[in-house]
Symmetry: C2
Subunit: 257 residues, 2 copies
């Protein structure tokens, strides 16, 4: 099986020119098949503010009313995605920007209302990689924005960590998939106060222990939950790292068991 | 040679829900290879206004400063493009939204400053259809937003009529290309006051005569200039029509000579 590298980068990294350029330099150097998944939350919040639209977050998730859906469609699908694509083209990497609606790659349904109405937020139902695999064969690097669609014409705001994991799982039927979650820290920290306490490896059992003892903070939980799901479902390697270190393979490696 | 239908639709048609839905219904029915090019100027102007950015137009062309470039990237590449893509998916038409940066399909350079500084406006240099042809073979319908890139990381605002013509010309090396320019009227009018005076055919010589006598208005001139260029460069048929009539092949047919 060929190798496929999937890199997920958070909002801040792709929203500031210097860190974006550094990331694109590193991503360009990845050899073989590769795919980028990006966020863009800070830019979406900033545009919403300029338009006088209030941003509501619950546990780090955005409440997406219709106005907010327009904002994230513009920011994720337009501004951030196309900047990355143009930046990769400038580096000789032939990129293609997509949302989940493009090529019908990710179908989702509007999240059912339980305690909280998240509005136009998508829970993923189905991932289709057929056309993407043809494009990977042609040395194209897909760049995926955190938007999906419901198959009935509605776009849905969808968590980028989840998109990266679900793509990785589906692609693992065809490739040896290496999934890199890039965020601010160099990995999962044994001591949240000490940036040098990066755990080289973390198992799901250890994760639960750290979670119970409160060592792993709330922001990391969805990333790790998605990462372990990917590991359990055929993804070869999942690394929690930062944009400076992903290319070197340094960070916290998630292990089974 | 296989047939390829290229449909260019103006802003108003894709910006209002009812007319967009009607267009997508008709576009879906087009058999064989097809590609859509869209505008979105009114929505860009509306967003610019909400953001307090002044819109400046010279002869129907937008002066694109950096702030305006962000607006058109969000509106053309995000909002309008993804709405069309999601709408086509809902109709069982597998669409892929693109700007000129995606798959490196359209390279341009920043328009040189002569009398007027148009800012970040692109003049097309090169069209690449390699990957799009692979996708057309897979029954994918590309949906192209009026943005190009310069190959150095810069996106450029680019006239959608010109994009449609340049794509049609390049594709005519591989397909019999039928190019439809859809706008408000049913075709080119012999009498601007009479909507029933549609010319069934128009040659370039007649166009020049109508232009000199002032019968063809300024808004039509770029569309017709692009259309005749396409005809002279291998495009099988160019029809000036409206969204209701393009599928029926009714409108003004541009002829050589």
């Amino acid at each position: 099986m060929d190798r496929l590298t999937i890199v997920k980068v958070g909002g801040k990294v792709v929203e500031e020119t210097d860190s974006l350029n550094a990331l694109l330099d590193d991503f360009r150097k990845v050899s073989g098949n590769k795919l980028l998944v990006h966020g863009g939350g800070r830019a979406a919040t900033a545009l919403a503010e300029r338009l006088g639209i209030e941003t509501q977050m619950v546990d780090g998730r955005r409440i997406t009313d219709l106005q907010t859906l327009e904002v994230v469609t513009m920011v994720y699908g337009g501004l951030v995605n196309k900047r990355i694509v143009a930046g990769l083209q400038a580096r000789g990497c032939n990129a293609l920007g997509l949302t989940g609606a493009d090529l019908d790659i990710i179908r989702a349904h509007k999240r059912p209302v339980k305690d909280i109405d998240y509005g136009y937020a998508g829970d993923i139902e189905n991932v289709n990689t057929r056309e993407l695999r043809l494009l990977l064969d042609e040395n194209i690097a897909p760049v995926v924005a955190p938007l999906t669609h419901d198959g009935n014409g509605l776009l849905l705001n969808t968590n980028a960590d989840t998109i990266a994991a679900e793509l990785a799982i589906e692609f693992s039927n065809y490739y040896k998939v290496f999934l890199f979650y890039c965020f601010e820290k160099r990995g999962v920290l044994a001591d949240p106060e000490d940036d040098n306490s990066v755990l080289p490896e973390l198992s799901e059992t250890e994760f639960r222990q750290y979670q119970e003892s409160g060592i792993i903070s709330s922001g990391m939980i969805p990333k790790l939950t998605n990462g372990f799901k990917a590991r359990r479902n055929g993804v070869q390697e999942v690394l929690i790292t930062n944009p400076e270190n992903f290319a070197k393979g340094r960070g916290t490696r998630l292990t089974l068991g």
